[in-house]
Each structure stands twice: as structure tokens, then as C-alpha cells.
């Protein structure tokens, strides 16, 4: 069989490493780290699933929490409330900010540089600092108390830079032709932004929102001292309520309900898996549209 130029059989390739043992060692190291990374993830998921799935009992999904069934339903409901509330605050702010940065601001403006720097700073702040701030500001200074609202406001600030950045990227990837066409038809700036630019940026914005949702669902440290750890469904915005991640923290800290902790971890993992696949599906759609 004739070989094409520039291709080698695996055997020949391996033989060629005989002359370059250093290269072979590097290849092995690179392969090993790839196997290690994938292996760790698979092991973690498999371990949690194997130990958790058998304990996904009806008890765990009882509508009311008590210390016997340690039901996760109230925490799940609180998580949904918390996510919706935090997104209601963060998404309009983030989109507005991104519209300003992408459509209105002049490039190199000092204010714009400051805004970008601050958004980057927010992104680097660890969640425990957000938790401390939320406790000092929302819970104590504004006198909201441990509540859904205080937790959601804290999380909203935490995910704001995520929404801002992804939205800005999505807006910037909308071709200028669209804007020029809209202006050419006599539309004003505002109309152009809302009718032409934003609709074509929706998939990108959506993937940012999903990313933010993932962070909200998984957050613990920022919530313990803002939303509190009450195991019941929060009756109002001003009631304390633990989310699923906080619920899992309480369970695993007590150490009495290890099996239920595994099961709760399974539910958390499933939510994260769904979020991740949604965002990668959307990202793929955006990529294929741009080509």
C-alpha cells in the first residue's frame, strides 16, 4: 500500500521515538495528565452516582422536611425561588450594562475602563467575601434579616459580571451591517438595540444566564450567612430558606445522614449536568450560525 505524504503508521511513529527519548517522555506525561483529568471527573461522578442513586427514596422527596426523612424538596423549591430571584435582579442589570459597554460607550473612555476593571474585580472575589458583605450590608445594615431576598441580592452581585461579560461578547459578535441596515431604514439607536441587536444576541445571552444559574445552584458559602439555613420552604421573600447546596452542607456536617448526602449530591450533579449540556448545545448553535 502506498503511503500518503506526511503520514506515518503508528508503529513507525513509535520507532522514531527511539531516537528521541525526551520527546517520548513528554508525550507520556501529556497523555498521563489527560487520562488523569478525565479519570478524576469520571471517578467522582461514578462514585457519587453509585453511592447516591440507591438512596433516592420516596422519603427524600417527601413534601415536608423533618429530621427523620431529611427531605430535599423544600431545599429544591428554595433553590428555584433563589435562582429566579437572583436572575431577576442580575440579568436586567447585566444586559443593561453590556448594552452600554457594547453600543453606547466610546472606546478607551476612562469610565468604561473603570467599569471593566471593577467587573473583573467582582469576578475574582471569592464567595465567602460575598457572604460576609451580604451579611453586613443586606442582612444587618438594610435590616432585611436572613432571607431569600438578602441571599438573592448577594448572589445577583456575584453573577453580575458573568452575565455582563457573556452579553457583551454576544452583542459585539452581531455584525455592524445589522445596525447600519436598521439605521438606514430610519430606526433610532434605541429601536436598533432592542429590535435588531438584542434579538440576534439572544443565544449568547442565554448561555451566560445558564452559566449564572449553575453558579447560583452550586453556591454555599455566600448563602449560609445571608439566606440562612432554615430547612423549610421560605414563605415570603423575607423568610430564611436553605438552597440545595446549603442543605447538603448541613447534612454532611451533621454526619448523621451520609447516604442522604450522597443522594442530594446526585440531584445537584444532575442539575449541573443539565445546565452544562444546555449551554454547550446553545454554544454549538451559535458557532454553527456564525460560520
Amino acid at each position: 500500500m502506498k503511503e500518503a505524504i506526511n503520514t506515518q503508521s503508528i508503529g513507525k511513529k513509535l520507532m522514531s521515538y527511539k531516537k528521541h527519548p525526551g520527546s517520548f517522555l513528554l508525550l507520556l506525561l501529556v497523555l498521563a495528565s489527560a487520562v488523569l483529568t478525565v479519570g478524576v471527573l469520571l471517578y467522582l461522578i461514578a462514585y457519587i452516582l453509585i453511592h447516591g442513586v440507591p438512596y433516592l427514596t420516596p422519603d427524600l422527596f417527601a413534601p415536608e422536611y423533618n429530621s427523620d426523612n431529611v427531605s430535599l424538596v423544600p431545599a429544591l423549591v428554595n433553590t428555584i425561588f433563589m435562582t429566579v430571584l437572583a436572575l431577576l435582579i442580575a440579568v436586567p442589570l447585566g444586559i443593561g450594562a453590556a448594552i452600554y459597554l457594547a453600543e453606547y460607550a466610546k472606546r478607551g473612555n476612562r469610565l468604561v475602563r473603570l467599569i471593566r476593571l471593577m467587573a473583573e474585580t467582582l469576578q475574582g472575589i471569592p464567595s465567602i467575601i460575598y457572604g460576609l458583605f451580604g451579611m453586613l450590608f443586606f442582612v444587618t445594615a438594610l435590616k432585611i434579616g436572613y432571607s431569600l431576598l438578602a441571599g438573592a441580592a448577594t448572589l445577583a452581585i456575584m453573577v453580575l459580571p458573568v452575565v455582563m461579560r457573556t452579553t457583551e461578547e454576544a452583542l459585539l459578535s452581531v455584525p455592524d451591517m445589522y445596525r447600519e441596515g436598521s439605521f438606514g431604514l430610519g430606526a433610532g439607536k434605541l429601536r436598533t438595540v432592542f429590535r435588531v441587536v438584542l434579538p440576534s444576541a439572544i443565544p449568547g445571552i442565554l448561555s451566560g444566564v445558564i452559566l449564572a444559574t449553575g453558579r447560583i445552584v452550586g453556591e454555599t458559602a455566600a448563602l449560609i450567612y445571608t439566606a440562612g439555613t432554615a430547612p423549610q420552604i421560605a414563605g415570603s421573600l423575607f423568610d430564611s430558606g436553605r438552597t440545595l447546596a446549603v442543605h447538603m452542607y448541613s447534612l454532611s456536617r451533621e454526619g448523621l445522614h451520609v447516604n442522604q448526602s450522597y443522594a442530594t449530591a446526585v440531584v445537584l450533579l444532575v442539575i449541573v449536568l443539565i445546565m452544562n449540556s444546555l449551554s454547550s448545545i446553545i454554544a454549538r448553535k451559535v458557532a454553527s450560525k456564525n460560520q
Partner: protein, 283 residues
């Protein structure tokens, strides 16, 4: 019509300023609530004091500062080599088909909540360290391994895009000079991406030092100077979460001051990250 345009532009500007206001508020509230306690305790007694005994009004956070530094250094030792090699694999070794599988894998690693990592550490890594090394398993080593895993996606993501940004002709030039594929990648492409890879490491350090729940669940949390990597430590972050629930008075203020110290660490890390990034954009 004109008026509406103007109003909306101002509204957009206002939303854009929210992040500036947020950072300002965070600084003001942390410093206003934390600094007085620091002065009351005495700055050197607070930062360099080695005894943390809230019952006896002894508030020295030096063991916690060292604890944070130890586990962060450990996680860098474990996470950075693996992360960079994995980034090299994804950018220069693996076929496109495999890449479309690996990318979601790395994203998933980034998406798993820290409480799940912590639990995994508690039920898997702690017993492993207890059986195969010394001590009871809740140790610097355990926390370092867990954090090393947790900072992987940060390091892989940033380093991979840095490696991809290196012009292809660098690599081809090296090949043409007779270097093997591996040698070209490691002696030409990787050095060309050096400063962004450094930025990735700094970002990873920021994640590691700020991680709370996962570290708290595996590090043992003893507020004393650790004598070996098989002993437990308490980090700055863990100190806040563990004691804030029941603290009051000066104790509570000292915990907020702990947050201030952590915040200053993070600001230093953030600033060095943006300086490195800016230097890249210039070059």
C-alpha cells in the same frame, strides 16, 4: 423621541455603574467593620499572633494565613503541572473529535459545586490519605489534592486558549528545523504563551485561596501552626465560616477582619493578573 433615547442611555449607564458601586460598597462595608477590630487587637498582634483563642480574647490569625498559603501552594504544585500538560494535550495533541468530548469534560469540572467536591474529598481523599500516609486524613495534603483538582479547569481553560493563540508558523518553523512534535510544542509554543499561562496560574491561585466549603470539609481546621503536611490546618476562609455562626462582639469583628485580610490577598492577586494580561495585550 429624542428624550426617550437620552433617558435610556442614562439608564444603561446607570446599570453599567452597578459593578463599580458594588465593589465600592464591598470595600466600604468590609473595611468599616473589620479595621476597627484590627486596631483594637493591634495590627501586629492580629496578623502575626500565633494564638487564636476567642474565649481568652486572643485573636492571632497567623496560623490561618499560613494555612491558606500552605494549601494554596500545595494545590499549585499538584494542579498546575497537570493543568498545563492537559492544556497542551487539548491544544496541540488531541484530534478534533476527541477535543469535542474533552471540552465539555473540563466545563463540567468547572461546574461541579464546591460542596460536592468537598463531600467527595471527605469520603474518598480523606480515607485514602489516612490509609496510605500518616495522620487522620484531614490534612494539608488532602486539602491540596482536592484544591489541585478544583483549580484544574481554570488553568486548562486559560492556558489552552493561550496555546492556541500562538501563531502556527512558530510551530512549523521548529518542525522544519528538525525538532519533534513534542520538542516544538514544549520549547517553542509553550514559551511563546508563557505570560498568559502565568496569568492562568495566578487565576488558579485566586480560586484556591478563596475556596471555602471544600477546604473546610477536608482540612481539619485546627487553628494552630501546622508542623507537617499530614497535620490539619485552618484557612482564612474556613475560619470565617466555622465561627461566624455563634460569634459576637470583638470575636465577630475579628472574623470580619479575617475577611479583610483575605480580601487584600485577593486584590493583590487580581491586580497582578490584570497587569500580566495588559502586558500580553501590549506585546
Amino acid at each position: 423621541m429624542q428624550k426617550k433615547e437620552k433617558v435610556m442611555e442614562i439608564l444603561f449607564l446607570a446599570t453599567a455603574c452597578v459593578s463599580v458601586v458594588a465593589v465600592a460598597l464591598i470595600c466600604i462595608f468590609l473595611f468599616a467593620n473589620g479595621l476597627p477590630a484590627m486596631f483594637k487587637i493591634g495590627i501586629s498582634d492580629f496578623i502575626l499572633g500565633t494564638k487564636w483563642k476567642p474565649g481568652n480574647d486572643k485573636f492571632g490569625i497567623f496560623p490561618m494565613i499560613l494555612g491558606s498559603i500552605y494549601v494554596t501552594a500545595g494545590s499549585v504544585l499538584i494542579g498546575v503541572p497537570v493543568g498545563i500538560l492537559m492544556a497542551v494535550f487539548m491544544a496541540r495533541f488531541c484530534p478534533a473529535k476527541l477535543h469535542s468530548i474533552l471540552k465539555p469534560v473540563v466545563d463540567l469540572l468547572a461546574g461541579i459545586p464546591s460542596i460536592v467536591y468537598g463531600f467527595f474529598g471527605l469520603v474518598v481523599i480523606v480515607p485514602f490519605v489516612r490509609e496510605h500516609f500518616k495522620g487522620n486524613g484531614n490534612s494539608i495534603l488532602t486539602a491540596s489534592i482536592l484544591l489541585g483538582i478544583m483549580i484544574l479547569p481554570t488553568i486548562i481553560g486559560v492556558s489552552e486558549s493561550a496555546l492556541r493563540a500562538v501563531p502556527q508558523n512558530y510551530y512549523e518553523g521548529a518542525l522544519a528545523l528538525g525538532a519533534t512534535h513534542e520538542r516544538s510544542v514544549f520549547t517553542v509554543v509553550l514559551p511563546a504563551a508563557k505570560s498568559t499561562v502565568m496569568a492562568a496560574v495566578i487565576l488558579g491561585i485566586g480560586r484556591a485561596i478563596g475556596e471555602t466549603m471544600a477546604v473546610m470539609m477536608v482540612a481539619g481546621n485546627q487553628a494552630r501552626l501546622a508542623t507537617s503536611i499530614f497535620k490539619g490546618v485552618r484557612t482564612l476562609t474556613a475560619n470565617i465560616v466555622i465561627e461566624m455562626g455563634y460569634a459576637s462582639g470583638l470575636h465577630r469583628e475579628a472574623l470580619i477582619a479575617t475577611g479583610v485580610v483575605l480580601f487584600i490577598f485577593i486584590l493583590i492577586i487580581n491586580i497582578s493578573f490584570s497587569i500580566l494580561k495588559q502586558r500580553n495585550e501590549v506585546s
